[in-house]
C-alpha cells in the first residue's frame, strides 16, 4: 500500500474535520464537538497557529470506499516541561478503519517524532482512554509509558462556569472555602 505523509495545509481542513468527527464517534463523544472546519482553518493556519497537522494520503486508485484519498491525520503542538524543556504533544492520531494495519499510524507518529526532535523536543506526550486496549498496545510497542499509572499524575480540567468563576467574572460565594 502506497501512501505519503505530509504537512497539512488549509485545503486539508475539510478532511481533517471529517476525520475528527470519525475519531470522536469512536470515543463515543461526537456530541461534544464544537469546532468547525472554519475554526480549524483560523486556528491552525494563521500567523500564530495553535496546532500543526500532518496528513496521510493514498493515490487515487487506492481511495476509500466513499472516495477519500486523505485517510489519516495527526494534530500536534509544542508544549513545555518545566523539568526538561521543549516537548511535543500529540493531540489526535487517526487512521480510517479500512486503511489500518498498513503502517500508516506508525508513519504518522514517526513524522511527529521527527518534527519534534528537529524542534529540540525531548519528549512526546499524549493521552489515551483506559478502555482503548488496541491503542494502548500499539503505543506500548512504540516504547511509551503510562505517566498516570506509573507516577500517579491525573489530568484535570477547569471549564465553563468554573473557569469564569475563577477569573472573577461570576460573583457567588463558595461555601466550601
Amino acid at each position: 500500500m502506497d501512501f505519503t505523509i505530509r504537512a497539512a495545509s488549509l485545503d486539508d481542513c475539510k478532511d481533517i474535520s471529517r476525520m475528527i468527527l470519525k475519531l470522536a464517534e469512536h470515543d463515543n463523544v461526537s456530541d461534544q464537538i464544537k469546532i468547525t472546519q472554519r475554526d480549524l482553518e483560523q486556528d491552525g493556519f494563521s500567523k500564530n497557529p495553535f496546532f500543526h497537522g500532518i496528513i496521510a494520503e493514498v493515490p487515487e486508485h487506492f481511495k476509500s470506499r466513499d472516495g477519500h484519498t486523505k485517510v489519516g491525520y495527526s494534530l500536534y503542538f509544542y508544549t513545555y516541561s518545566s523539568w526538561k524543556g521543549r516537548a511535543v504533544y500529540m493531540e489526535d492520531l487517526y487512521v480510517m478503519p479500512e486503511f489500518r494495519g498498513k503502517g500508516i499510524g506508525k508513519a504518522l507518529m514517526a513524522k511527529v517524532s521527527q518534527l519534534g526532535l528537529a524542534a529540540g523536543c525531548t519528549q512526546l506526550n499524549f493521552t489515551v482512554l483506559d478502555w482503548n486496549k488496541s491503542s494502548l498496545d500499539f503505543y506500548r510497542k512504540q516504547g511509551c509509558w503510562d505517566v498516570t499509572s506509573d507516577l500517579g499524575y491525573h489530568c484535570m480540567r477547569c471549564e465553563g462556569d468554573a473557569l469564569e468563576h475563577l477569573g472573577g467574572h461570576l460573583h457567588f460565594t463558595d461555601q466550601s472555602q
Binding site: A24, Q32, I33, I35, D39, L40, D43, F50, L75, F77, Y78, T79, Y80, S82, W83, K84, G85, R86, E91, D92, K106, M109, A110, K111, S113, Q114, L117, C121, T122, Q123, L124, F126, T127, L129, D130, W131, Y139, Q142, G143, C144, W145, D146, T148, G152, Y153, H154, C155, M156, R157, C158, E159, G160, A162, L163, E164, L166, G167, H169, D174, Q177
Partner: protein, 170 residues
C-alpha cells in the same frame, strides 16, 4: 503580608523561575528530573516564538524571603488545542514559596490565568496533579476542576527522546 504584585515574567526572572521550578519539583520528589537550564528558559520563553508564558508574584524588598528573594511565586503556562472545543490554557507549573502561603497569592495567580484564558477565548484550563497531592486536589476541586483521568479514563502517556529517535528513524 498584603503587598505583592503579579506581573508578566521578564528575561531577568529566569534565575528565579528555575529556582522555583526546582523547589516545586523537590516537593514532588522529582528534583533530579529537572535538567532545564537558565539559558534554555531564556531562549524558549523570550525569543520570537515562545514555548511558554510565565507570571511571577513579587514582594517588596522589605518583605523578602529568609534567603533574600523577592520573586516568591510563579505560574508557567502555554496554549494547547482540542480539536473538539478549540483553544485551551495549559497550566504547566504553579507554585508559591511555603513562607508566603495563606495570603491569597495562589488564588490571585489562578484568577489572572483564568482571566487570560477567558480573554483569549480558551474553552478551559488543563493541568495535571499527582494523585497523592490531596491538598492541591482539594484546592482545585473547590474551584470547580474535574479529574479527567478518574471521570473519563484519560491516561497521560510519554515517549522519551531515546524512543523518539528510534521511532523517527523507522
Amino acid at each position: 503580608m498584603d503587598k505583592f504584585i503579579l506581573r508578566k515574567a521578564e528575561p531577568k526572572d529566569v534565575s528565579d523561575i528555575l529556582r522555583l521550578i526546582k523547589e516545586l519539583a523537590k516537593f514532588e520528589e522529582m528534583e533530579e528530573q529537572v535538567v532545564l537550564t537558565e539559558k534554555e528558559l531564556l531562549e524558549d520563553g523570550f525569543g520570537d516564538h515562545p514555548f511558554y508564558h510565565c507570571v511571577v508574584a513579587e514582594v517588596p524588598k522589605d518583605k523578602q524571603s529568609l534567603e533574600g528573594y523577592t520573586v516568591v511565586g510563579f505560574a508557567m503556562y502555554y496554549f494547547t488545542y482540542d480539536p473538539w472545543i478549540g483553544k485551551l490554557l495549559y497550566l504547566e507549573d504553579f507554585y508559591v514559596m511555603k513562607e508566603f502561603r495563606g495570603y491569597g497569592m495562589g488564588s490571585e495567580i489562578l484568577k489572572m490565568l483564568s482571566e487570560t484564558a477567558v480573554k483569549t477565548r480558551c474553552s478551559g484550563m488543563h493541568f495535571i496533579v499527582a494523585e497523592w497531592n490531596t491538598t492541591s486536589i482539594e484546592f482545585y476541586k473547590r474551584r470547580g476542576a474535574s479529574d479527567l483521568s478518574h471521570e473519563e479514563g484519560w491516561r497521560l502517556y510519554e515517549i522519551d527522546k531515546c524512543n523518539l529517535l528510534k521511532m523517527s528513524s523507522k
